[in-house]
Point group: C2
């Protein structure tokens, strides 16, 4: 019995049209990355398990795809362990490799492993798939691409400014206008914790504040009280509940609010520097806005935090994000390497562009010219022209069989091939080609040189 073909949940096949559209996004991002001085690296699809495990929290460990050891992998496994049926513990004995979960940890591993070959500050980009055993839903897949740019070995704020410009440049080139680049700084969140008087309430506070959109100031206050944040503390940070206005107005409010916190004030100064510089330089199509609720892996970032949302009206989670981490490579033994980076979510950007019909200029991967095949003698004559056309980079093909004319024309129509060349014995005699321009139906006899001109 033949198998009914299918693919694993959360994975996708990509048709020629989809590949072309995806490559359009990839090459747009790649060109901007390179224009900004980033260099590409690639890392293996799977890493040693110890490189990945424990780097993404318990949830991450669970979602990492593990690869079974090869050969008779059960041979040396302890029988009592097997009998226990403890999946977690057995995994360590039968699997020593795992699929890449993101690009940041492999990058950190790369930097440490190749530190002697790298010229710092190292500006690298990486565009590769990652895999997560997550529950699939709209915009969430088990195999998806990340496109990351990071700078490691510099603490400067200029790179943080450049990432705002870079986001703007990519989305503008994709004609995806009206994106919002949200910006925050971990130091501001830390400053708020200081103001509250309890540093250990930072996460509770941030989680509550993050719900402002949904539950309003009253709801947030209630949740904060429930988490044990004092009334006086909440009173102090009231301005954040009504945090509106221009970026400058927000900065001024934050400055007042965090006046008593050295770290918080540093955060406001850093943020102001980025905002002011961008205001002077201008952006092409994105909006830059301060969002103090933005945390994204709070335990990870130490300075700037970025997140990009799609234009209003498009239902989609974030299409990009990133931030600064002061100890990217410490876990692999290289201390004091500050890094800052951003990521583009290729698959979500694809869905947004599709929804907004922004793929109209993408050149689909189809030939420009089809040579009809009437038989070996005619095909041989066509082949001479085909060689010339291809030498001149004209995408062209000969129908591989001498099928009925109708079938061949049907193929040309379905694939929307703009030029069809027809060669019979009379053309061969005259050393000419009859070319049909499919859009108009117009036909003309021409020499090989003329054919080359028409189809180029």
């Amino acid at each position: 019995m033949a198998q009914k073909p299918s693919i694993p949940k959360g994975t996708r096949d990509f048709s020629p049209t989809e590949v072309a559209k995806r490559n359009y996004i990839f090459s747009t991002i790649r060109n901007v990355f390179e224009t900004y001085g980033f260099q590409p690296i690639e890392t293996p699809s799977f890493e040693n398990s110890e490189t990945l495990m424990g780097k993404y929290g318990d949830e991450g460990d669970r979602l990492i795809f593990k690869i079974l050891n090869s050969g008779d992998y059960l041979n040396k496994v302890d029988e009592t362990l097997l009998a226990s049926k403890d999946s977690l513990k057995v995994t360590a004995s039968i699997s020593e490799k795992a699929l890449r979960y993101d690009l940041t940890v492999p990058f950190a591993r790369y930097v440490v492993q190749h530190q002697n070959e790298i010229e710092f500050p190292f500006k690298r980009y990486q565009m590769q798939p990652v895999w997560r055993a997550d529950r699939p839903q709209k915009g969430r897949f088990r195999e998806f691409y990340q496109c990351d740019a990071d700078v490691v070995g510099s603490k400067g704020l200029w790179q943080e400014i450049e990432f705002v410009q870079l986001y703007d440049a990519v989305f503008s080139k994709l004609k995806l206008t009206g994106t919002t680049i949200k910006l925050n700084n971990r130091k501001i969140l830390a400053g708020i914790a200081e103001i509250i008087g309890e540093a250990d309430k930072l996460i509770d506070f941030t989680v509550a504040l993050d719900k402002l959109d949904k539950i309003g100031a009253e709801g947030v206050t209630k949740e904060m009280l429930a988490k044990g944040i004092s009334e006086s503390a909440i009173e102090k940070v009231q301005p954040l509940f009504h945090f509106n206005g221009t970026n400058q107005e927000k900065l001024n409010q934050l400055q007042v609010l965090l006046a008593d916190s050295v770290e918080g004030t540093n955060g406001v100064n850093d943020l102001r520097f980025v905002i002011d510089t961008i205001e002077i330089l201008g952006l092409q199509s994105a909006h830059l806005t301060i969002d103090v609720t933005l945390a994204r892996g709070l335990n990870y970032y130490t300075g700037a935090i970025y997140e990009v949302s799609a234009p209003k009206g498009v239902q989609m989670g974030s299409i990009g994000g990133g931030g600064r981490y002061d100890d990217l490579t410490g876990i692999f033994g290289l201390k004091d390497m500050s890094g800052v980076g951003i990521s583009f979510g290729l698959d979500r950007i694809y869905l947004v562009l599709e929804e907004l019909n922004l793929f109209d200029t993408v050149e689909l991967p189809k030939p420009k010219v089809l040579f009809v095949n009437f038989g070996d003698k005619e095909a041989a004559f066509c082949m001479k022209a085909l060689v010339k056309l291809r030498e001149n980079n004209v995408k062209s093909e000969l129908y591989p069989d001498s099928s009925k004319m109708k079938k061949q024309m049907n193929y040309a129509n379905k694939r929307e091939i703009p030029f069809v060349v027809i060669v019979g014995s009379s053309e061969i005699e005259k050393n000419k080609y009859t070319v049909k321009i499919m859009q108009t139906g117009e036909q003309q006899e021409c020499s090989l040189e003329e054919l080359l001109k028409i189809t180029q």
Copy 2:
């Protein structure tokens, strides 16, 4: 304790320079594929195990990387089965996905699954990594790329001719001259079996003949006798032991030898058609040669068989191969779909180009312009120029920190950045930029517009 970073055996990191060189090969192959009318598809990195298992023989099944099921995967596994420690059987219970082993089986699965969306004949190409748990050695990796082009839904010989041209076009564009495209036809091998009088000796015969280079005619005769091939049969195929001369001479010998076999004669005719047509059309840099010892997965191919070897003097296995298979998709339920395809081995081609120093024209991914960073005021002034340069696609960057001049110049030197722009207070005053041309050491003061001209 920090982990000492490493990557799994048989996998590789790619540095910016390596990525650039690899992309040069990828884009050369991609351009030729598209010029020949092929369209790209992509399939998931992992497939359901039943899609892959049993398709590559026992050896293949062993070398396929299996992915462990997620969650508490041992929960439902039979305890007696676990206690048996039968790795092969347990695998079926704890793993239902596996990493792609080649591109042909996923392509066959794709064709059947999407048959209603596909216009046949379907000319597709695919350039993706595959994974094999093979023992790593020179030119053999556990993660490597295949670049395949196939036509499915046509039995015509013209496509077989085009693949010879396509190989020649790719290697010529890569300046890899002197490759040998070896060509055979399964029907000729079947004809030989008929001549020998024992069809079941075909594989023994081919395996022995394949050793002609190493053990000579005498050794081959000895091995054939040992395998039970009769003396009179060996007598009959003597010409193959001294199979030299031009392709035309070989064709004539084969015609005589296989005169009594209908299938063999068909094979000679097919081969002659391809050879004759290529002789008329000509090749740019490759040699096309008939090789009757060429079998490559004998049980698989049914018509043309291709293999490409690197130029003489380069020690490397085949750098490409392929052939015709008359029942590509039958295993997934779609009968009578003839396909013919070829593959390029990216990683081996890379090694060959490296050995022959053929990467000299590859543009490395480095910026053209570095702006030295003397402080925020100077950097802000530089940033205005940077925005303009990047708008004009000039790869350029600002050193992210205001480090010592010497350190920044050292960075520019190490990365071989051709233009360094220096801006101090006097430049800001005059609204000028000082640009240093690194190769000559020459320095000049210029306006933003002049800078744009110089660096473009």
